[in-house]
Symmetry: C2
Subunit: 230 residues, 2 copies
């Protein structure tokens, strides 16, 4: 389920505040979902709750982490050390979830050799050897659009089957390779869409400033979160 990471963050927040057990109702509120949905999601992992009491926070964190594969160490390589690559390299939330940045790579000789987040930027020529020798299993592409497909082909040939793509292109990959894309402008576009709706609704509509249109989402708090430390 794509909601497990959201639950995991909510749980981590509770754990930091020293809360030992939590009911589905409270956890659902923290995560911004319906409590029945949360219970059904969690029941797919097994029966880790205690009726009459709730869920043990630490135990549930462990179980979800295990389900998501976060109990093991994942070596990640970031290709493209522009502004975004730097932001990702400095992001503290990766290491705490088992993601270890094994390498930063770039094609620009101006950037190669820079030290960022404790790592020295390496030349893209070393891409294949880095993947092989450091057991990299996930590659983050933060290059310009023009280079993304080429990088993609090189890493898939090197055996990578998981790619996180920030470049504004649709990557073509062989079967069995999993690509996820992150777009920063699409979120803004969706906000603009709602903002426009509020405007026309206020002008002639029936209700005034409604939250969001039906079918779009349950309103504020229905989407992922977590970010790069500024």
């Amino acid at each position: 389920m794509a909601r497990l990471p959201v639950y995991l963050r909510a749980l981590n927040g509770l754990a930091e505040r020293g809360i030992a057990t939590v009911s589905s109702e409270d956890l659902a509120a923290s995560a911004g979902v319906n409590s029945a949905k949360l219970r059904k999601d969690l029941s797919h992992l097994g029966s880790y709750g205690t009726r009459g009491v709730g869920y043990d926070v630490d135990y549930l964190i462990y179980q979800i982490s295990r389900e998501l594969g976060l109990t093991q160490d994942w070596a990640v390589a970031i290709v493209g050390v522009g502004n975004l690559g730097r932001a990702l390299a400095n992001y503290g939330g990766f290491a705490s979830r088992g993601f270890r940045i094994a390498s930063l790579l770039d094609a620009d000789p101006e950037v190669v050799g820079d030290r960022i987040a404790g790592l020295t930027v390496e030349h893209i020529d070393k891409l294949e050897s880095v993947i092989r020798e450091r057991d990299v299993s996930i590659v983050v592409i933060a290059t310009p659009a023009t280079s993304a497909q080429e990088v993609c082909e090189r890493v898939t040939r090197a055996g990578i089957t998981s790619i996180l793509n920030f470049a504004p292109v649709v990557l073509t990959v062989p079967d069995g390779v999993d690509v996820r894309k992150v777009d920063l402008s699409i979120e803004l576009q969706i906000l603009a869409f709602h903002e426009q709706r509020k405007a026309v609704g206020a002008a002639g509509g029936p209700g005034g400033s409604a939250q969001v249109g039906p079918g779009i989402g349950p309103g504020a708090g229905n989407e992922w979160a977590e970010a790069v430390e500024a």
Copy 2:
């Protein structure tokens, strides 16, 4: 519809290559969706296609842009000029879609006064006056988690009803305020989940390296894209 921005990007790609008309089949392939779904989505905006021919690329771009409210100019303020704030400020894809960055704000005196992407970083004290005087309608929060809620409250009091949140917290907002959150680590967690599944599948499962589990998504290309220029 949350898929319109995806179609829009696919269309822009076609327009750049000089393609004047496109069939639902081809456009659906570019966007990574089913062609019937695409036609149904587009039919909700009106009948802009020509049977036997397809859709006029430029006209469809205009219609979708209008529907999304991208034909007007949106003034955006970015609060928090760390690595991510900088990456967003330098992102070229905003301006081309009608998003104009009206201000960069930060609390750190070290950063205030820096020139980034043609703008001078302003002090957070000016938040309210900037919103008022420059007609800002969307605020991007790229601050550390600890400051996000405070910034959120200030901007909502200043009349903002659309917030894009990159900080790793769930923001509490009044009714009528629309918040979207972007998480960079959740995408990695989902990749790790699939990667782990492939591993256990190869060990004892029936199929080998299946694309993704059922119910998660149709595979590569099912999620947003577009990014910060590296």
